[in-house]
């Protein structure tokens, strides 16, 4: 999977499951301040990512550090890279 494909999967899943605006999915945007998620949504975000990539997320501390959409992309990229190795 190319990085662009990965980003598309993430963005599409978030747009669908959180009813976000597809045109707004810029990596520098804060998922909380700009996209309107809140701390209550964290677990749901994890479930969306687990569903989209069929992996299990146990990195609770890393998830809590996520601020922007780009952070999510980076997180998934690291996960996928770790799985290959």
């Amino acid at each position: 999977m190319t990085e662009q494909q990965m980003i598309t999967i993430i963005n599409d899943a978030l747009v669908e499951e959180f009813e976000l605006d597809a045109d707004e999915m810029q990596p520098e945007l804060s998922i909380y301040d700009d996209l309107g998620l809140d701390s209550l949504d964290t677990v749901d975000m994890v479930i969306v990512l687990e569903g989209a990539f069929k992996f299990k997320i146990r990195e609770e501390a890393e998830i809590k550090e996520i601020r922007t959409l780009g952070d999510i992309h980076e997180f998934v990229k690291r996960k996928l890279a770790a799985e290959v190795n």
Partner: protein, 504 residues
């Protein structure tokens, strides 16, 4: 206008109501049944009171967590706790003649079980220690445990009981024996997270008690406390809609007869699927809706209610777990007993007296045989009182099979029995309004993130067995947990600590 409305008057709803009323709020509880706590109340038949939703519990002995809840809520003034047999509150008997009595106390279990499995002493020790390590530190039950110590992640990624036991011992009989208590939460060993299992089962290892007069006595005690606390109990009232204001905060509920009750706080203790049905489609995000609507149901059962000519000594202060050589429900088609991706222990019969600790007169008993609603799918359109003959014939076959199995293992029960009637998953479904006739609502499974009390809708909170765990204890903890979210956890824990000191 109420400060808070509680939907559902089960153990969790009533716990929420009492806690909020004690904090000075004006509270109403709305219940669809004719009387509060229908599941606890059980029913009367042939002059006998049959318990349904409560037979026994752990943590009710002096100084223990559930006792502390009772004390804080005022319930202890109205109920009498009776310990079960400390030498063996749960007796396991297999078709091959093996038997074991679960005694009260971790060390006692390790000693007596090691006598049966001499080579497994360290595995047994480990199991008991791991279990008690979890159950001794449950939030609220143990007021010194920090709230939210166990994260949602830890719970979701715990090992299953099956995997835990596989790593512990190769002895199949021991594994089976240590999985039997899955009956108390209705989740298959391969699906239940070990720590969840431990949280439900561990308290019984410390103490096992009943309440004199059974579930009905507890329901009556709750009702008296509600009265004393000035809580309005609105029965025969089905909530059809949870009303939202234009800014998506809660405004109240609408009943099926159109009555509107106003409040800016609503606590829903009903099945999460039903809570969803009471809300407009788009208020939750798709992912959260999916999460709630895809929760699997816990197991269901066929339940045989029987009256006896004389009291049964074998069931005084004790339950039986009988393992038969063959399954109880004759299969209709060639199909596996599956429910929510877990298996059902088809060969288990759980026997308990009709009304726990009703003094000398335990004039009846009930037998629970785990099964699934799928077994009855061809009649699922039929309703109470209008079932077809083929269903009744199948029911008779199951009754006969259960009676035959009991007769082999416990002939004195059958000799004493003079009337009996069978409830199937469809009966449970229609009486308890429980999808699929599930005994304990939704399952708590491995890989599943626990639900939180707080929701995205301002003023709407969830509570009940779907949140923490089933059982009187799980339902009560969920009440504390939800009210802790509303009132502040420190405040409730502080009150519990105070009880702690008074009791000790």
């Amino acid at each position: 206008m109420y400060d808070a409305l509680v939907v559902g008057s089960g153990v969790s709803g009533l716990t929420n109501a009492l806690l909020l009323a004690q904090a000075g709020q004006r509270v109403a509880v709305v219940e669809r049944a004719q009387q509060c706590a229908p599941l606890l109340r059980g029913f009367e038949r042939w002059g006998i009171q049959f318990d349904t939703g409560f037979h026994y519990a752990g943590a009710l002995a002096d100084g223990e967590g559930l006792q502390r809840f009772f004390n804080l809520l005022g319930l202890d003034r109205h109920v009498e706790i009776e310990p079960m047999r400390s030498s063996g509150f749960d007796r396991i008997i297999t078709a091959a003649g093996f038997s074991y009595d679960f005694p009260v106390g971790g060390d006692e279990i390790v000693r007596s079980l090691s006598d049966k499995f001499p080579r497994e002493r360290s595995a047994i020790r480990r199991f008991i220690d791991d279990t008690l390590q979890v159950s001794d530190h449950l939030p609220y039950i143990n007021p010194t445990t920090p709230i939210d110590q166990l994260s949602a992640f830890d719970r979701a990624h715990d090992v299953s009981l099956t995997d835990y036991l596989a790593a512990l011992t190769t002895n199949p009989m021991l594994r089976r024996l240590l999985s039997l208590h899955c009956l108390l939460h209705g989740i298959a060993p391969e699906r239940v997270p070990f720590r969840f299992h431990a949280s439900v089962i561990g308290p019984y290892f410390r103490s096992a008690s009943t309440i004199v007069g059974g579930g009905l006595a507890l329901a009556n005690a709750f009702e008296r406390c509600l009265n004393e606390a000035g809580v309005d109990l609105i029965c025969d009232a089905e909530v059809e809609q949870i009303l939202l204001s234009s800014n998506e905060g809660v405004e109240g509920v609408e009943l099926s007869d159109g009555t509107v009750i106003h409040s800016q706080t609503v606590i829903s203790t009903i099945h999460p699927h039903y809570t969803l049905n009471c809300l407009p489609d788009r208020v939750f995000r798709p992912i959260y809706r999916k999460r709630l609507s895809s929760l699997d149901e816990s197991m269901s059962a066929c339940v045989l209610f029987a009256r006896c000519r004389q009291p049964l000594e074998v069931l005084r202060g004790r339950n039986l777990y009988l393992l038969s050589a063959s399954a109880t429900s004759p299969p209709i088609q060639q199909q596996h007993q599956q429910y929510g991706r877990g298996s059902v222990d088809e060969k288990l019969l759980y026997v308990t007296s009709a009304n726990a600790a009703s003094g000398s007169d335990c004039g009846g008993f009930m037998v629970i045989a785990p099964t699934t609603a799928a077994q009855f799918s061809q009649w699922c359109q039929s309703r109470l009182g209008q079932r077809p003959d083929s269903y009744n014939m199948y029911k008779q076959r199951i009754s006969a099979q259960m009676i035959g199995q009991l007769e082999q293992s416990q002939p004195e029960l059958i000799a004493a029995m003079d009337r009996c009637q069978l409830a199937t998953p469809l009966t449970l479904r229609d009486y308890m309004f429980s999808p699929d006739g599930a005994l304990y609502g939704v399952q708590h499974q491995v890989d599943q993130y626990p639900l939180q009390a707080i929701t995205r809708i301002k003023g709407l909170y969830l509570s009940g067995q779907a949140l923490i765990a089933p059982g009187v204890m799980g339902a009560m903890i969920s009440g504390f947990s939800t009210c802790g979210t509303i009132l502040g956890h420190d405040r409730l824990v502080g009150e519990l600590k105070q009880c702690h000191q008074t009791i000790q």
